[in-house]
Every structure is written in C-alpha cells, then in structure tokens.
Amino acid sequence: MTTDTTQPPDSPAIAAQDVHKRYGDRRAVDGVSLDVRRGEFFGLLGPNGAGKTTLIEIMEGLRQADGGTVTVLGQSPWPRNTALLPRMGVQTQASAFFVRQSAREHLATVAGLYRRDPAAADRTLESVGLTEQRDVLVENLSGGQRQRLAIASALVHEPELIFLDEPTAALDPQARRDLWEVLRALKSQGRTIVYTTHHLDEAEALCDRVAILVGGRIAALDSPHRLVTAAGAPARLLLPVGRLGVEEAAALPGVDRAVLQGGSLVLETATPGKVLQAVDALTGLDGVMTRTATLEDVYLELTGAAHAAAGHIGPQAGPHTQTEHQA
C-alpha cells in the first residue's frame, strides 16, 4: 500500500462538505456532509433513489457536484484525476467485462490498465474464490461469479480506498459469508471501504459506521450499535402461543404492546429483563425467545418516517409491523 506523504495520517479518507447535486428539479443529493476515516468500513444505506449512487459517483470522480466540496485521499476527484485513480478501486457493474475473455484474461487486462502485471490477477482471483473459474469465459460465469469478478476488478491494483456497490446482492448465503471474510481481510490490511447494501444485518456485522441516506440527506450517521441504542426501539419477547392470553400479557408491567404474530405471542418492551422475570414467574421461560432491536428497525423507522412525511400511501411503515427478525 502506498502511504500519502502530503497528508497527516489521521486525515479522513473522504471529506464531503455540503455536497449538492440536482437532476432537473430533483435534488438527488441535498447538502450531504460526512467524513470517512482512514481504515474505516463505512456503510451507505438508504432506499433506492435516496441518492446513494449519485453521492458515491461524485466521490469516485464520475460526476461533478453542483455545490460543496469533496476531497478523496487529500485530492479532488473532479475532473478525472489520474494521480488519485490508482489509489482507489471501484466495483464495476457485473456486465463490465472485456468480451470473449476468460476471468483471468479480463482481470489481467484490468491489471494492465493500472500498469500491474498479470500475477496481480491471479492473486486477486484467489482472494475472491474464483481460481477454479480462471479459464472460464466471462460470458459463461454464473451471476454470483460475475459479481465476484466485478469486485475483483476493484481490488486487483491493491487500492487504499475501495468503493463497493451492493457487493453481496447476487450471492447465495455461503458466498455472501465468504465475501464478508474477504472484506474483513481488506479492512484488517488497513484499507478504507465504502459500500452500499440493502442487507442491514450485513451492515451491522461489517460496518464501523453507517450513514442512512433519505431523500438526498443524511438521516443518521453513527456506528450501528449506537444508532440502535439511541433509537430506543423496543426489544421483543416471543412466547409460544397459548402460554399466556394476549390481554393478560399486555397487562404485565413493562409490556408496551402484545400481539399475536407468526405463531408467537410477541411482547414489545423497553425493559426486557423485568418482563422476562414476570413471564418466568407465570409460565417459565421454556421456548421463550428474545429479540433485540436491530439496525433494520432504525432504518425502517427513519426511511418509513420520510415515506409518511412525503405523503406516500403504503403499508404502515413502523418497524414492528414490517419486520420479522431472525436476530
């Protein structure tokens, strides 16, 4: 990894100040300020159309912001900055392959574009688990394999800063977990990772901090743990049906709401310890499950609120009615 000599080591990898971008009348990015620290795993979350892609493309130097400033590794990404480009890696679309090339030939070509030798392609193929497919033509790779090859395109030149756009979207659960290990290894090497995802469990498991983008603005920005704690979303106790009546349960001290859901009696509470004691005293705790609030609750709270405020007609957007956790 190259170290930046012109920058103090604690300067942020990305510094965005009051970034604006509009398309016609629509404000795609509407005054976003955020810092991504060096070595940080930073998640950018938000519903489709919230401005994630536009914001990332401004950071990558593919688009020019209408207003505000963006500094990436101490430099301006716009206009095309060929001194900065080798220091960052961008996951491409899973279609962006040189035609009629094998996986290895494609990646070796990308390596060549960064003036790296083909050995870099072999190393990277191994790190994303595509060594066995190295001689398969890109046209014949499966969806998940294409996805991993697209991620490999972002890593082949060992960049300091890596942008990944929904890297686990097309992967099966096992491949997804394998990729988590790849990403964690990159982080442990000191690389900075900025990524978008719709898998909130994944963001919670991987990210040091997440920003939740709603309508082109940052609705929340903190570590997943602190966001969950601060949101004060209730914990939920799941009891087998028939153990307690709904009314009886609702009357227990500390229970905010009791409802039958998916074969369980669900008790929502801000004080799970107290309620557990009460349930224990009444029926015992056999078969009782506890589910604490997750990042998904926070996310739905924030994005749902924006939905309601914008006057959208849709399902009741509270986190409790929409989500069924397996936390």
């Binding site: 090339q101 390596a111 574009l113 960064y114 003036r115």
Partner: protein, 251 residues
C-alpha cells in the same frame, strides 16, 4: 504490463474468438468479388477498354477494409459504453489516447490482413487481376484510409447506443458510399455529375489510390491526391470523434 499491451492483447483475443465477425470481415468482401467476378467475367468496361476486374477488385477491397474499420470500432465503443466497460477504463489512470491507440493498431492489422487475403484471391486465374509493379503504394493508402474510416466509426459508436443503431447508421453510410464511390460499379460508367458528387466521399479517394497502386492506371498524382484527401478526412473526423466522445450513456 502496459495498458496499451493489455488492451491490444484483449482486443486481439476478442477478435479471433468472434467467428461471425471474422467471417464478416474476411470472407464477406471475397463473396462480393466472386459475385461481381462471375457477372462481369472476361468483360471490359466499354468507356475505357479496361477489364472489369481491375475496377472491381480494388473497389471491393477498399469498401471491405473501410467497412470493417467503421463497424469494428463502432460496435466496440457502443458495447463498451453500454456494458459500463468504458466507466471501468475511465476509473483507471489509462488515458483515452492509449485506448484508442490500441484499437487503431488492431484496426490497421485487420485491414492489412484483409487486403492481403483479398489481393491473393483476386490474382488467382479465375479472377485474373494483374498487379502493377507499384502495388506497394497501396499500403500508405490503406493506412490512411483505415485511419479516416476508424475516425468515422468512433463517431458512429459514440452516437449509437444499440447494436441495431450501429448497423443502421453504418450501413446507411457505407452502402450508398460504396456505389457512389465506384466500389461496386466503375465510376467511368456513371454520369459526370455523379462523379463530381463522389469527390466529397472518403471512399472515392481510397478507391482511386488503391486502383492506381494495384492496377497502374492513372498517374502517381492520383495516389498522392487520394492519400492527401484521406489524411484530411482522418484529421477532420478524428477531431470530431475526440470532441464528441462519451464515457457513459448516463449524463
């Protein structure tokens, strides 16, 4: 490995692995030669007394080379932009000129091989093209012609966003131009006003220079004028191509 080497190697592999395009590039012009050869076998053009083959062989060859140059780069650019491959390249430190240089060398190689195969077939007894001693002069004409038509292809590939659009635009350009420039029918058979019109078409100059070099008709000036005109077209279309180039379909 340099970006230029990497891109050229990938382009070469993509070219030789694409059987349909290989056929279109190398065998298709030969098909025209066979058809015209059969139609006009043993006949001379009344106006000049020269055999048809001495008009048709250089003409069809010029058209084949020009056509391949336009289609090759136009398809590649359209496809690279559509598949976001240009975005990938845009995010590497590789300059656009390196990308175009690798495509240029590939196009030159394709064009020269096309011409060599075509001439080798045309001199066979069945067709009976007789090569003039100054045939090597066809090389500068080919290089300049490929350059000019490559630049036209860059413009086509920049404006077309689908394979259908590339085919439509390129065919609308190249098929009428082939007839109006005398690639398929000797210009000497056409009315004089049409011959004047052909003066604005780049293919006319490639035909003239190629015919002059391969068959020895006309003076050396004809070849020189042809090359100079092709150079002019190359500079003009090259400038437009660089000016209008787009990295992405998304604005």
């Amino acid at each position: 490995m340099s970006a230029y080497t990497a891109l050229t190697a990938a382009g070469y592999r993509a070219q030789v692995r694409d059987k349909a395009t290989l056929f279109f590039t190398f065998a298709f012009p030969l098909l025209f030669l066979v058809v015209f050869g059969l139609i006009f076998s043993g006949q001379d053009v009344e106006e000049t007394g020269r055999p048809y083959i001495s008009y048709i062989a250089p003409g069809v060859m010029s058209w084949g080379v020009a056509n391949a140059a336009v289609f090759g780069i136009a398809f590649t650019l359209m496809q690279w932009r559509r598949d976001d491959l240009l975005r990938l390249i845009r995010l590497t430190p590789t300059p656009l000129t390196t990308v175009l240089a690798s495509r240029y060398v590939l196009a030159l190689a394709v064009g020269v091989v096309q011409a060599a195969v075509f001439i080798a077939v045309a001199v066979l007894p069945g067709f009976g093209l007789v090569l003039d001693g100054r045939w090597p002069l066809v090389l500068p004409a080919l290089v300049l012609g490929i350059t000019a038509f490559l630049a036209i292809g860059v413009i086509v590939g920049t404006y077309a966003n689908t394979p259908e659009a590339v085919a439509a635009i390129a065919n609308c350009l190249m098929v009428p131009m082939a007839f109006l420039s005398g690639s398929f029918l000797p210009l000497d058979m056409m009315p004089s006003w049409l011959r004047s019109v052909s003066r604005v078409l780049p293919l006319r100059y490639l035909n003239d220079a190629a015919t002059g070099a391969l068959t020895g008709t006309g003076s050396l000036t004809t070849i020189g004028t042809g090359c100079a005109a092709l150079l002019g077209f190359a500079l003009l279309f090259g400038a437009i191509g660089l000016k209008t180039f787009r990295w992405s379909n998304r604005t």
